[in-house]
Amino acid sequence: MSALEIHEVRKDFGNERVLKDVSLAIESGEFLILVGPSGCGKSTLMNAIAGLEPVTDGQIRIADRDVTWLTPAERDIAMVFQSYALYPSMTVRGNISFGLEMRKVPRAEREAAVERVADLLQITSLLDRKPSQLSGGQRQRVAMGRALAREPAVYLFDEPLSNLDAKLRVDMRTEIKKLHQRLGTTIVYVTHDQIEAMTLADRIAVMRDGHILQLGTPDEVYNDPVDIFVAGFMGSPSMNFITTTLEGRAGDYRLRVATEGEEALVLPWPASRETPALAGRVGQPVILGLRPEHFSEEDRRLTAQAEGTLLEARVSVVEPTGADILLRLPLGEGEVTARVGPKCRVAPGERLSLRVDMGRAVLFDSESQRRLA
């Protein structure tokens, strides 16, 4: 059964169309993340699901019921807001039980629900405080508690972690994941943080300009992006895009990379990853997408066994992050970022040999930016 179905939803603000026929469906118990840059329509979509913004056209169904024209209260949803939106005049207890009170739940049941939620989120000791007496992290917990007190068909999370500092954000991320695993709730979660999307989601919807560009598991979105935008948006540091020329023929495609001051590099395209789309592109420019981790330091002892193509370049910048080292080096018309192990000893200006794992590389059309192979 679909917990939430969105069918060709359209939303106009004046003359601007901010949602362009968006459709998606999520199963009960699924964790869906809407991700995209600001202005992509993800928050508008969230508000449309919540009923806070009427849609211009289309249909929204929650638990197999058409809710398109129902008020937020009638939709069987709960929401966690970016600013938490805790009622400033009420205690934590009042905040958590307000929704139940409005739904005329008897007092005893309300109190039981508050106890249950407070226990779950470890905020029992805060129940009689006002929101102004809480820290940012505590407010965040209370905001989640308010949503969890009811048991709606769908939970909506609108960038719930973006107001927390970096350390707390990671902790709360883990905690949300645990809660989801434990309670099996259906969650739609909006964020602009691709790491949150990767770590939390069952499925990710990448949005841009009012469209869903790709809807898939984190693995699909990360390793099989449909276009340059999705490829570049997911992953940090982001994917390198190198303009190359496609050469050869079916069974033996090669990519020629011209780098200024270097000999031209020819990278063979694995036969297993060929697609029919490549046939018409021979002799034309195509864009090669390589993630930083697709490079690896050449280990001389293992040369014989190692997969991939060798490339040599002069390193321009060395950025140790602790866990590994990021290198900047010229390749094609610009520079690329490569991620190598922390033991790599290289200084700026030195030459270094790197292996490229073409088995995970992706190719895009240089005009349409769509995926070729």
Binding site: L52, P72, A73, A78, M79, S83, A85, Y87, S89
Partner: protein, 292 residues
């Protein structure tokens, strides 16, 4: 301007002294009329004509206050301003309460339940803050007549409410604009409706702006003279009109001490409100206007 190292030169000390002197002089300018009013109001009449303006009374007396309150002539009648003082309260209190409640609901609806054209409606209502009231006096007089409210307290209350809601709406709108709309969204999801959200979520955080609205409306309506003189009769006059009549009634000797006592009586309520709550007024007003 804190945390700045300044050299304590003799010049700087002189400047500091001059600064304090100027501030003190200004304070005297503002205090002088009040002091004269108070001193004169407790002087016997013979001391006034003999002595200087600022000379303290030799034989202080409350007789002028008693006369101003209960016996002084305001036009034809000689019953003092006491009755009119209560008249003012009977007009001010309902008018303040009604205009504040209406303004709060308007501000809430305009900011938290925006709809197509709501900004236009606000602009439309806001204009009422700016018109010179002379432009509505004649039609108002006639309309009050038709409504059977001529020269009545109810009529004056109505007039003050009508021309007060533009201000109260402005105050509450500017205040509620700064209250996060997500609070209302959250309450909608929780199942609360229009009035419940107002009562349970917005109203409990509105104390600062309620203070502003009440003080503003109280002083405006208490101090009103134009509507009072245009739309009231003998027994429904507010105290400002009575005071003016008292001062301009020329029967026998001018009793300046009674004039001043009556002026003090008319001034006291707003002065008390100002001294007790003026701090919150400025604070609430600037809190709203900065964010609005």
């Amino acid at each position: 301007m804190d945390n700045v190292i300044r050299r304590r030169t003799p010049g700087a000390r002189m400047a500091r002294l001059a600064l304090h002197a100027m501030l003190l002089l200004a304070a005297l300018f503002y205090l002088l009329p009040l002091a004269v009013m108070l001193i004169t109001s407790i002087k016997p009449l013979d001391e006034i004509s003999a002595g200087s303006l600022l000379a303290l009374p030799q034989a202080p007396t409350l007789a002028p206050w008693a006369k101003a309150w209960g016996e002084a002539c305001t036009g034809m009648r000689c019953e003092g301003v006491g009755g009119y003082f209560w008249n003012s309260f009977a007009i001010v209190i309902p008018a303040v309460v009604i205009s504040t409640v209406v303004g709060a609901l308007n501000g809430y609806a305009l900011t938290k339940w925006r709809f197509r054209g709501s900004e236009l409606l606000f602009a439309l209502m806001l204009f009422g803050c700016f018109i010179p009231f002379q432009v509505v006096l004649l039609p108002m007089a006639q309309t009050l007549g038709w409504l059977g409210l001529s020269s009545s307290r109810a009529g004056l209350i109505l007039v003050h409410v009508i021309f007060g809601i533009a201000f109260t709406t402005l105050f509450f709108r500017n205040f509620y604009v700064a209250v996060p709309t997500e609070l209302v969204s959250a309450a909608k999801l929780d199942g609360a409706g229009f009035f419940r959200i107002f009562w349970r979520i917005l109203l409990p955080v509105s104390a600062p702006i309620i203070v502003v609205s009440v003080i503003w409306q109280f002083t405006q309506i208490w101090n009103d003279f134009l509507f009072g003189v245009a739309f009231s009769a003998h027994d429904t006059q507010p105290v400002t009109v009575a005071l003016n009549n008292l001062v301009n009634t020329s029967t026998g000797v001018r009793e300046y001490n009674v004039d001043m006592a009556a002026a003090m009586i008319a001034a006291l309520p707003t002065l008390v409100v100002y001294v007790l709550a003026g701090k919150y007024f400025v604070r609430g007003l600037t809190a709203g206007s900065v964010k609005g």
